[in-house]
Symmetry: C3
Subunit: 292 residues, 3 copies
């Protein structure tokens, strides 16, 4: 693996390898890297958990992290992404972790760049490290993917998480379904009522209502969304035994999920964050090991 | 000590312990910590000295500092302080150092959060690490607190420093007095003329006129404030032998204090900054030692 | 060398020493420093390559880097540069690396400041670390400076790079010429046509059109500038054998230089970035070695 750009590029074997290494790191194993690698985190959009998670994972696998302030860089002077990354490569950076608002910004990095590129979210495109931590979370819970009913709820067409996860989970044998207001389904086939998916789901994966990308639907207030598509306390009671709740966060409490459910027994929302460090250590090790 | 939120929570013994450890660190002693702790600095308001002082202290006690860019975090997406801190905890952070503009923002962190919380300033509330470095500075100078006349000058009602210091110094036996324009006294009993406090003060502690919080009084221009309530060269000459001048900084030169006095013999303004690193090392050690 | 403020302050011997140490670092030699020095990077203007290059160089010579967020510091509260730097000195910082928009901002740091000051760009003034990496790049290529024809092309009067380089290269024996639109020459004697300089130049050093400082000339569109003063593919073919192309970057592709030439055989544009880390290691070592 030279880069991690999109889940579509990963084979099933590569996915399972990363899950296995994440599990090993969680058990306390050290990264198998022969030297100190230099990395830089280029976050052109706000982020708390993805950025700090990478910062922690980078240190835990022994990287040197060179600070890069995306909001105060030469990108402001109109420098291209290629020139920015090539510059970092010449400075001695081995891998860049990038979040940017342009879909597939990484296409201009496919030729001429030697340093590894890890996509930490591209516009409404992919978010592969989030996907891999979600897969690791599901795997830890059930030990397999085959036959699991996994329901993704929310604004599917604008969600990086939905696309990355649907692709990978389907390939791993899970049965992925969507639930959302009709107007948000786009080209996806989706249920429009909890009744169709609530009681047989093994995993309910809630997506964030992205206020900063587009308003809650014209047809829904926040309260209205919660009532019709949110996970309420009454709905949680009807969930299957052993079923879990996931959310990539940040959460809009009482919109996607009732405030009181955020840390309930079924919730893996904060566990996902914890698992994210191990998944990202696995990603970094896998990619950096291939370098001299 | 699990957290450091407000001086009111510290016993006299805890205060004296931190002063003693600060003194030990200044003499070159190493921190008594058994492992590397992970910390993050969440500064939601601009800061130079408090933030860089913590950054330095954290490294000197052997912490790993995970960068957190408050101005570019998911707080922008409306994430609650609880969810932000819980996320950092799950990522593996042992202690967060927080500055925020809401008074007592930390109240929502009292339940459910395991990681330690160190308050680096809450709105117009408290600023306990500044207070502890001020106490250390006074202790180094006089060797005791009992009976010292300490005059705090400036916008008392809006000052975190004034509140934290008045509480602690009074408990330690000092005689704390205030000097300010009548309209800024609030509920405090205060002198309104230097004549009442100038010649018998052991410590004159100037507060910053906070342009960014509220303008200099309607009744005072900057020059007018300096003339009536600033420490001028003429006033400095009338100070008691051995008396010292303190200021938490940043300074407005020629407003709170005459430019020529900033580094005069009585001034401990830059020494306070130096002492701050030792005081914060003591705070970090005291809090982190209690963790596994 | 206590500070590095302007190329004019460096003797020829000091320049050659830094070039020699840069070469040694490039060959893998370690820095000759006896302790860990603390440094802080104060960038009050956006920067990618200078800032990350210093961050890397600092780590490679074994420094501890204390983060400083210039865009979120007490400078926003009106703190003077002197007070900011003095504060960092009291916190334990040994050297500050500063970029600021004021010409010769460092004049207020010449007295009373003990920590070393390295100028990483002052307004339209100097940019000595860029100059030293340029000199190192030229020296690596030709092994000497005497008699080289070096042509600097672009907005000379507003360029820190032009001023720093012209001064130093002339002292080192090179023959420095300028090429620019008549209205940009200021007090410099400059050619206004490529015909006068293209074929006998050993080094063509392109300057960035600084959109953020002033617009492309009223008399030139971007395309017009490229046609008349840009390095086009046709012009590159007429360059002398062994001649090289340099540019401090960030590049405006197809303005100063044709897109296809950026990584051509003659181009040292990305090599300059690589050399910058070694030059800055040499600067840091030279300055820090003189401290206790």
């Amino acid at each position: 693996m030279k880069n991690l750009l999109s889940m579509e590029h990963l084979t099933k074997e590569e996915i399972l390898h990363i899950i296995a290494r994440a599990a090993a790191f969680e058990k306390g194993e050290a990264a198998q890297l022969n030297r100190t690698y230099n990395v830089a985190n280029l976050f052109f959009e706000p982020s708390t958990r993805t950025k700090t998670s990478f910062e922690m994972a980078e240190r835990r696998v022994g990287c040197e992290v060179i600070p890069f302030d995306a909001g105060f860089s030469s990108a402001l002077k109109g420098e291209t992404m290629y020139d920015t990354v090539k510059t970092l490569e010449m400075i001695g950076i081995d891998a860049v972790i990038i979040r940017a608002k342009e879909d597939e910004y990484y296409n201009e990095l496919l030729e001429g760049i030697e340093c590894a590129v890890i996509n930490a979210g591209d516009g409404a495109g992919q978010h592969p490290s989030q996907c891999l931590l979600d897969l690791y979370t599901i795997y830890k819970e059930f030990g397999h993917f085959e036959g699991l009913n996994i329901t993704i709820v929310g604004d599917i067409t604008h969600s990086r998480v939905a696309k990355s996860n649907a692709n990978a989970l389907t390939r791993l044998g899970a049965n992925v379904r969507f639930l959302c207001p009709a107007e948000w389904a786009g080209d996806f086939e989706a249920a429009h009522s909890w009744e169709d998916v609530l009681e047989d789901s093994d995993v309910i994966m809630l997506l964030r209502i992205q206020h900063e990308r587009h308003a809650v639907s014209k047809n829904f207030s926040k309260d209205g969304y919660h009532e019709e598509f949110g996970l309420t306390a009454a709905r949680e009671k009807r969930m299957k035994q052993g079923a879990i709740i996931m959310h990539p966060a940040p959460i809009n409490r009482d919109v996607e999920i009732a405030d009181e459910l955020v840390e309930c027994e079924r919730s893996r929302i904060f566990s996902q964050v914890r698992n994210g460090v191990f998944a990202r250590m696995a990603i970094l090790e896998t990619i950096l090991k291939e370098r001299a």
